[in-house]
């Protein structure tokens, strides 16, 4: 599982360890990892991705679409005011978790 940005090896190992542990059992941990990561987006994109106003809603958006959009922000293929800077702060694995979490959320109304 490649990490596309320079996380320290120890942190990267910790991410992998948690992901590995969590999958088979009820480690609410791993589910919560996706939930916790997605919550870092809520300040702009709304609680559980239900955005208000001019912000892009993420609730119920296909995971592949979110992953692709963030990859384009990261690479610079998609110009942005701010998302190119924010996307680079998350590992590709984290982005996949966030995308899956938002895809599973119920859009409001």
């Amino acid at each position: 599982m490649p990490f596309s940005h320079p996380l320290r090896p120890a942190s990267a190992a910790a991410v992998l360890m948690v992901a590995g542990l969590a999958a088979p059992a009820c480690m609410a941990q791993d589910a919560h990892l996706a939930r916790n990561l997605a919550a870092t987006c809520a300040n702009c994109h709304g609680t559980n991705g239900n955005a208000r106003g001019d912000m892009q809603p993420l609730a119920g958006v296909a995971a592949g679409k979110i992953v692709a959009a963030l990859a384009d922000y990261k690479s610079g293929n998609q110009p942005a005011t701010i998302m190119h800077q924010i996307a680079k702060g998350y590992t590709d694995e984290q982005i996949k978790l966030v995308a899956a979490y938002f895809a599973a959320q119920q859009p409001r109304k």
Binding site: A23, A31, T40, C44
Partner: protein
């Protein structure tokens, strides 16, 4: 391997797995764990009592997310004000571009989620007995305490400052509310040709770009309504502390002739409406002094200021104070991790780390060891043009702190109106995220 599909499937199947596995995983706490693990909000027995002190960006978000994520957690939020007034966007009120109603929200959304709102002041904390005392003598017992006390001011080092602020003639307006209203009134009452002087303390202080945004907003008001008036920025720091090039450009492009910025101008004393500096005195018609800051009073009263006798050291995995077990501290009051700003946005992010950790801790479960927080701060340089600074901070297990991710974050390419719309939407979204209304 198709990661997408794997994670999606995992997310969908998770609640079933949690249901099946919870009891076995935690025999001693099986009943509690089941409730927390599987239940939606408000089903099953309570997993614990959390008292939150302070209903700002940190405390309100903690209340909301404890309810959102915690199943049945008893949450009591103690706040001295009847409603929430936002510091972010309050500089627009000073500039006359927004009204107080635009930055004021009620706590009814939290009430509707089952948060017990208590309007009052916490005067003492007994961390050993796990209870807080309110002014008036009532006590609240807790299993976990969250303090989100914001900042209070350090006035002793500046002769005349305490008296000036007490007089009500000199305002700080560094906590939104009556001080915002009062400063706006002073600006409206000031005759054309007057001087608005603002003193900025040395870092660290709440909202690093805030003073420079305020200078722009007041200058925008003067430019339109009192064109002979002047904004004088007296900065104790050697340079602008956030979005420097962007603010310098705004000062030059929009406010040359109106706004004067002076670096290395630390306030030494206050006498009436005169700010005494190292080399000269500045007499102002409206004197706005942002005093040096420390963690809010209740954190000091509770003996939590273990960093420079000024801020609260925290375990970043849980936001628990390193001075008092069971007491979690959020927001501006914390001793910041490297490059971590004291902002409402960051307090909201702290609150989510704390809420997640507390829910696990109440159930005897391990906390997330790879938390992430991020910050976005929009500043208005005109009524419509905005600049941002953003950062993402990943937890570093070796150094046990959050670190800004190299290559991430940054500032706007230039002031622009698209971000002017985003800034207002940011406010709308974050207020809703914390207050559920």
């Amino acid at each position: 391997m198709n990661h997408n599909r794997m994670h999606k499937t995992f997310a969908f199947e998770l609640s079933r797995r949690r249901l099946l596995g919870a009891g076995a995983a935690l025999s001693g706490l099986a009943g509690l764990a089941l409730a927390g693990c599987a239940a939606g909000p408000s089903a099953g027995p309570s997993i614990g009592r959390v008292v939150i002190v302070g209903g700002g960006f940190g405390g309100s978000t903690a209340a909301r997310y404890l309810k959102l994520w915690g199943g049945n957690v008893d949450v009591t939020l103690v706040e001295r004000s009847a409603g929430f007034v936002s510091c972010p966007i309050s500089n627009l009120v000073l500039g006359g571009h927004k009204q107080m109603a635009d930055i004021t929200r009620s706590y009814d959304g939290l009430r509707a989620l089952g948060v017990k709102m208590v309007q009052g002041d916490v005067t003492a904390i007994d961390a050993a007995a796990k209870k807080v005392r309110l002014a008036g003598g009532a006590e609240l017992a807790y299993d976990r305490l969250i303090l989100s006390p914001g900042v209070d001011f350090m006035l002793d080092g500046t002769p005349g400052l305490a008296a000036a602020l007490d007089s009500g003639r000199v305002l700080h307006s560094w906590k939104a509310g009556p001080q915002t209203v009062a400063l706006r009134r002073q600006l409206e009452a000031m005759p054309d040709g007057g001087v608005f002087a603002m003193s900025i303390p040395k870092v660290p202080f709440r909202c690093p770009p805030g003073p420079y945004e305020r200078a722009c907003m007041v200058a925008s008001y003067f430019k339109q309504h009192k064109p002979r008036s002047k904004v004088l920025v007296l900065d104790a720091n050697p340079e602008i502390q956030s979005k420097k090039a962007l603010f310098e450009k705004a000062f030059k492009d929009h406010y040359s002739g109106t706004l004067e910025y002076r670096a290395n101008n630390e306030l030494k004393a206050v006498d009436g409406m005169t700010a005494k500096l190292e080399f000269d005195d500045v007499k102002a018609d409206v004197l706005n002094i942002i005093p040096p800051q420390r963690a809010g009073d209740i954190a000091r009263t509770a003996g939590l200021l273990n960093m420079n006798n000024r801020w609260v050291g925290v375990n970043w995995l849980t936001m628990e104070s390193t001075a008092a077990p069971g007491v979690h501290v959020l927001g501006d009051a914390t001793f910041s991790a490297p490059a971590m700003p004291k902002s409402g946005h960051m307090a909201n992010q702290h609150a989510k780390v704390a809420a997640a950790a507390i829910i696990e801790l109440l159930q005897g479960k391990p906390v997330n060891v790879t938390p992430v927080v991020m910050n976005t701060c929009y500043s208005f340089v005109t009524a419509r043009d905005v600049v941002h600074v953003a950062s993402v901070h990943q937890y570093d297990a070796v150094d046990k702190t959050f670190k800004a991710v190299p290559g991430s974050g940054g500032v706007s390419a230039g002031a622009n109106q698209i971000e002017g719309r985003y800034a207002l939407s940011w406010a709308d979204n974050i207020w809703f995220d914390m207050l559920a209304a």
